[in-house]
Symmetry: none
Subunit: 425 residues, 2 copies
Amino acid sequence: MKAEIIAVGSELLTPDRTDTNSLYLTQELNRLGIEVVRKTIVGDDRQLLAEAFRDALNRVPLIISSGGLGPTEDDLTRETVAELLGRKLVRDDAIVRAIEARFRSFGRTMPEINVRQAMVPEGAEALDNPRGTAPGLWIEDGERMVALLPGPPRELKPMFREQILPRLERRVSNVRMFARELRVAGMGESHVEQIVAPIYKRYGEVTTTILAAPGEVQLHLRMWTADAEAAERTLGEASEALEMALGERIFTKKGEPLEEVVARLLTMNGATIAAAESCTGGLVAQRLTSVAGSSTYFLGGVVCYSNELKSAWADVPAEMIQTKGAVSAEVAAALAEGIRRRAGSTFGLGITGIAGPSGGTEEKPVGTVHIALASAGGIKERALRFPGDREMIRWQASQTALDMVRVHYLYGGAAKSAGKEPGRG
Amino acid sequence: MKAEIIAVGSELLTPDRTDTNSLYLTQELNRLGIEVVRKTIVGDDRQLLAEAFRDALNRVPLIISSGGLGPTEDDLTRETVAELLGRKLVRDDAIVRAIEARFRSFGRTMPEINVRQAMVPEGAEALDNPRGTAPGLWIEDGERMVALLPGPPRELKPMFREQILPRLERRVSNVRMFARELRVAGMGESHVEQIVAPIYKRYGEVTTTILAAPGEVQLHLRMWTADAEAAERTLGEASEALEMALGERIFTKKGEPLEEVVARLLTMNGATIAAAESCTGGLVAQRLTSVAGSSTYFLGGVVCYSNELKSAWADVPAEMIQTKGAVSAEVAAALAEGIRRRAGSTFGLGITGIAGPSGGTEEKPVGTVHIALASAGGIKERALRFPGDREMIRWQASQTALDMVRVHYLYGGAAKSAGKEPGRG
């Protein structure tokens, strides 16, 4: 089956913002064997919107749109599609009540304007939106299917997964997409490509995409077939071959972010962690606490920007800062040790560096970062020089810090678990 | 003038990658007063490609495409557009020689396949591409203009800047885009819409877009005209009327994020800040330090997840946590005061709450957050209940905390600056 995606919203035609929902939608549609043949991004203009939907309806049996379902006058998707399909808009009182209840739960009254969101084209099914006020709509028109979804990704994704996928599953053929995603830390894209190219070329039926993100490289393996067993076998083989080649640099085979891998390792091992950050300014703490249940392993952290607070909050000797400099291996180690002792945690992370844009010197240019990991077994220290701007440097530093915890378990855990890599179960 | 952008390439219809060239192109086109009314992303399929170009040619006088100019058989843009416009493809020997020279410079011989890239539709101008083998094409067809550019951003951007912009500059009227962006904190989208709709309706020549982001609402005002003075006057009036209506809820008129506004206020006032965070886990520190030069106003922060560390690191009395609960107005205030004293800063922020997904109770459900701002003048405290998931709750809490600093200056600064709002200059 073929589908088109229409992203609605004038803000998506500015230099600041473009549609990204379609990446998620494409992934989910592909899994069902549905191919996306075109994406259209169109503004809040009735005529252009009508033209986009009309053309798409003439080409493909399935249209997924995002956006234009809000309560304001430039939200035109509902009205435009109803008119195109020759259906009246009818007020759905159950939706009005649901929106009212949502506003009440924040202690507010529903503005009259939101009643627009309760208008449903005749014969359409309204899709519940627990994360926002705009309900989605599912419309079947002969052989054609149209799903109108809200624009915010945090509303669109669960609505698609919970309410559109089941409807589509009943209708599509049994060709499915099968996929694996490996993520690699601590290696550049070209380096990964050099190592893996000879491997993935052996698997012609697998589509391999290599994507570089800051501080990590992602390997996407995809296969389209009706034969689930063959797909699992081939993808399993290909992914094992890649694991042999890349070894411990692979931090996940499930496409999850590094903080989740570290969270699992810490939780599995009953370990706790604390961080003393300078240049990352709380980014490591924020990433570690972004995982639900983080209070079981994350005790606390300090962000000590000034030299005084490095001493006051993490016991870095003032003299050391004076002689070695605030950005030095010694200070990173002292931060790690100091915060570990003060928090009483299994691990202490210490990070100090120059995120820029100013503050660099010839000896210590912007991008210089020292990271230390303290544990009962001693201190591991890394000196790095990251490329990129302030945001990139901070991100890569946080990525390296988290990866040092993961790598600690690879080696540190080896004795305990008789050579088996922990956290890879 | 109106334009459409067509991005060509099947890889842009996968879950991993989408068109981003259009953001750059839109910015440059907007500068010339050219509005992008639609973007289409289409795969390497002759029929779909032809349809996309044909429809666009019927709608607008200018089309910019990217991609599909390579030497392989799925590179179809050149052929498709030539056919649509009824022009023969003619081999351009100068281009063949240029491509041969490029290969020679890497010590290689040009593969025969690359001759395809030297085929030029009759009457079209080939655009030199020093960074790749694919030349671009500029085609004028009556009143219509079509630019075919290569897909890689590092080839597309300089080619557009050096060879398309000058051609467009000669042709476009002096209509330009003029814009304003106001951002509002602490109000929902519908609420803002209700207040501003009667205002922006008075300015029919101004296009107003309302965008909701977590914890803020953005108002984009745009106007297209050749009369710069009139534009500035009208946008100035409209934006003043909006300011009258929304008052202090507007935190910027320059489209910058809240942390930058707070950074400027603190710097201007020679003030410093420190934060003691529980549920936000370092997000406030991370946002405050994401601004270059943050070391002048941000002294440090602690993330104290455990009750013990709330006492040890921010002097929250253990007894208070016991009697009032870790998530309480009292503990937020104690965190704010404690960290202010310990860091020796002008301001102290204290944040404690339940980000979820677990940990909520009937009395204190997920989303309950207490935030306190301590200064020499005393403590301001807010109790909030945020909707959404863990990430949303944490973000909104950080947004409210930063906004409390801003609001402090609105009122606190009033005496000093004789009624003029500081930071609005």
